[in-house]
Every structure is written in C-alpha cells, then in structure tokens.
C-alpha cells in the first residue's frame, strides 16, 4: 500500500500523539472510549499471582507498544517465573507489597522506575493514562464483587472515564469496567495504593554497578 505525503503526515501525527498506544472500545453505555493497548494475562490456574501478572502486562506493553523506542529497547522480556522470583511471590500467600518489592523491581528491570504510593487519587492515574502509561492498582476484589473484605488484589489500569475505570484484571478478565462508586471503597480498603511507573531511558543497572 502506498501513502501520499498527507497520509504519512497523519500517521506521523497520530504516532506522535501516542494514539498507537491506545485502542477504541465501547463502554457499558455503548460510548466509544480509548484504552491503552495493554495485553491481558490471566492467572486462572494459580490464584496468588495477580501482582506478578499485572507486572507482566505492564512490561509487555512498555516493551512492545509504548511509543518511546529507547524505552521499548531497554525494557526486558521477562517470564512469569522470572517476575515471581524478583517479586518474592510465594505459594498461597502471594506477593509481599512493600519498599523491598519496589527496590527489587527497580534493580532488576531497566527502562521503568517503579514506585509504591498510598492515598493515590484518580487524577494521578488519569495523568498517567494521558501519557500512555498504565498503573497497577491494589484493591480489594472480593469487596468489589461481594461486599466482603478479602485478599488484596492487583490489576492494571488501562483507561479512566467519567463513570468508570477500566482494568485488565488477572482474575476477572481484560477491559473490565468498574464504576468509580464501586471501585472507591474497594480501593480504600487497601489504602488507595498503586504501583506507579515512570519510563526512564537511563540505565539503572549500569549505575548500580558503578
């Protein structure tokens, strides 16, 4: 297929705006919305690896879809087993979520600076989405589904609209819509925690070695 100059310019502009990182889907009211093209990794056979799968989704996206080539080049390809190892994820009990987790992620994964924050608000997550960066939220999925406090659960925020947040949920499926009213108390039980990603072209591993 041949493109004329004008078409090339359009493609260029859309890539520049990060539109190649997003795709259009329909919300529950049949409105067209945009979400990040983050692949979904289910965890049906192993129940305690939601955070591992969420990290995997983010890495795959940053490696293959994120619009900065330098970042794409340096973000590593990591298997679920490798991520389990660096996150100290253990049978039945899941992943330890604290500063050590973040330290381990930062010292093993190039191209992204991870941070764990409490009391994160939707504006912060929206700003990330605007920049084409997904975030991992930690919330109480059983409370969300059944109103009973249960395990802490991780999922990847791929879109936020006025009414809903859209999560790639390792337990429940991809592009999972949750209204803000339903999500808020489930998130609050986990102190509104999120693992935020910041693309960083600087080599962290090289710096540590020095």
């Amino acid at each position: 297929m041949m493109y004329d100059d004008q078409q090339f310019a359009k493609i260029g502009i859309s890539i520049y705006r990060g539109e190649s990182m997003k795709r259009k889907i329909l919300d529950p009211m049949n409105n067209q919305i945009e979400v990040l093209k983050v692949p979904w990794y289910p965890q049906q056979d192993v129940e305690w690896t939601c955070l591992v799968n969420s990290i995997k989704m983010c890495l795959e996206y940053m490696k293959n879809t994120y619009d900065n080539r330098i970042i794409r080049d340096i973000v590593p390809n990591m298997s679920i087993d490798e991520i389990m190892k660096i996150t100290n994820t253990r049978r039945f009990t899941g992943t330890v979520v604290d500063s050590h987790l973040i330290k381990n992620l930062n010292s093993n994964i190039e191209g992204i600076i991870f941070s764990l924050e409490e009391e994160v608000n939707m504006n912060k997550l929206s700003a990330k989405i605007e920049k084409g960066i997904p975030s991992i939220v930690l919330y109480n999925c059983q409370f969300l589904k059944y109103g009973i406090r249960g395990a802490g659960h991780a999922g990847v925020i791929i879109g936020i609209t006025e009414n809903d947040i859209i999560i790639n949920n390792p337990w429940l499926g991809s592009e999972y819509f949750i209204s803000h009213e339903v999500f808020a108390p489930a998130w609050e039980l986990e102190y509104n925690q999120a693992i935020l990603l910041d693309p960083s072209p600087q080599s962290k591993l090289g710096q540590e070695e020095k």
């Binding site: 289910p42 965890q43 049906q44 056979d45 129940e47 305690w48 939601c50 955070l51 994820t89 253990r90 049978r91 039945f92 009990t93 899941g94 992943t95 330890v96 979520v97 604290d98 050590h100 930690l138 109480n140 999925c141 059983q142 589904k145 059944y146 009973i148 406090r149 249960g150 395990a151 802490g152 659960h153 991780a154 337990w171 429940l172 499926g173 102190y191």
Partner: protein
Amino acid sequence: MIQNQLVDLPVDERSAEKIAYNWIRSTIGNIPHVGTPVKKGDMWSVPVHVNYPRIFKDLTTERPQKLRFMSFKNIGEVKIDAIKGLIVDKPTFYQIQHKISENLTLVQKTVQKALVKVGANYFAELPFPSHMHTPLLDVLSWLLVNDRIDVSIDFEQINEEERKKYQQNIELLTKYGLVEIEGNIITPGNYLIEIESRGKNYHERLSKALSFFFERGYEEIESIYQVIGPYLTLSSICYERSFEYGGVLPQDYSEIESIFMETYRVEIKRIKLPRYLVQLEAVNILESKTIGGKISWSANENLFNKMCLERDILEPIAGLIEG
C-alpha cells in the same frame, strides 16, 4: 513526663488495623487480610484471615466465568501494644502458609470422603491391577480364597515393616466388620461372610467387599488413598472444583494436569494421567466432553448431586465458600 505523654498516645482501632495490615503486606503477602481489631487490656489483637480465591473459567471462551472465595478465619493473630503501637507478637510466614495449606487440604479431603462414600460402587469397579499395591486387597483376597490367616505362620516369612502394614490393615478391616481377629487367627467378619454369599465369583466378591469398605470407611481416607491413590486425586480435582463452583464444571486437561502434578511431582505420573482419566470414565466417575475443540473432563452429574447431599460429611467445609 509531658514528653512521654506526647510519644505514648494510645493506638486507636484504625491505627491498630493499619499496623497489622502493613505487617501482613510486608511480611506475608497480598492474599491474607486483617480482621477487626479487638482490644484486650493494653493490647490490640488483630486476627489474620484468608479468603482464598478460586477462579473458574468458561472453557468455550477461555475467559474467567466466576470468582469465589474460600474463607479461612483466624489463621493467625497480630498483637499490638495499644500504647506504643509496636507489634509484640505475630505468627511467622511459615505458620500462615501452613495454615492456608492445611485448610485447602481439609477441603480436598472432605470432598474426597463424601465422594468415596457415594461413589463406593464406582471406585470398586476400577480394575484391580490398577490399584496400587495394598495389603488391604491382599488380606481380603486371602480370606476369600483361603478362609483364614494364621499370622504366626502366614506372616512369618515377611519382614517386620511389611508385617506391620498388614496388621494395620487387618485392624482397619476389623473396625468395619469385614475381618475378625482371635489371637493369631484372622477370619472373615460377618459383613465379609454376607458379601461372600452374594458374589458370583471371587472378583465380584472382592469388588463388593471393597465397595463396602469405601462406603463405611470413608473416614479412613488415607487408607483408601493407598488403594485408589491417583484415581481419588484425579476425580476429586473435578468434584472439588465443581463443589466450590456450585455445579458441575468441566475442567480442561491442562488444568487437571497442573493440579495433578502438584500432588505427584514425578514425570511418570504425567504419562499415566490419560489412562487414569479413561479408566475413571469407564466406571462413570468422570465424563469427557469436547468443548471449543478441546477435550474437557467433568464430574458425573448424578454422582456429584448425591455427593452434595452428604451434608454431615461436608459440614466442616460448608461455610467456607463465599461469593
């Protein structure tokens, strides 16, 4: 004094919960959660609970279909000094992990007991060469063929360890009236005599005796496991998942294989797995279906429904499944 008062502010309920929460998340993992703190004197006691997730997928779409949680309450306790806000006592990671494992085993064994009770006839129909080596079958067969065992003579040539195994199984069979002991002499018990009179041939008599033992002796699940080990493990994977789901749920082969191999961890079992499935289908404990172009395995609906009616046996785990 003023400084002390400033430092030693009493810890309120929410703060106690947060301290315990942080400890769980930073030491144990994301699966356990905090319960409601209870104040006991100068101490907050925060229970640690686990609502263990089970995800059920639709085999046609390969998408998650249902999420349920098994509730394991009070698997640990975090004690916090209500004045200083310091943790003074807490379980270890391994204690929590062990408790979760223990509860999951309880669910598995309870389902197995109910399944063995209602499926006794079906399990007893499995071909005998498929049973693992077991003294239980040896003793029953011997008595059916030779009428009696004289321990002092017949067990004389076998080693101490083997003799012990036979003795244990004889005691077990005695408990359920299949065998009688009089000094060194073992003879058929009343029930075995009754069964003997109804069987056409030795094979049928042995099968009926085994069925009787499974039905009455379901509480001896470890001994029954010695007889039908991999068959029990495999069938209980399908029946347990269905029980947790609340209806017969087909399982795909890879899912069954991954759970089965967690139990056995020896490669030879991976090769034997299809044969076990075929044999379980032959005796109507499992059914195969093709869903979305893939073979899936599920519980026999009739047997599953009967199993769910065994409320007394299932009682210990009845309240565990939420959602």
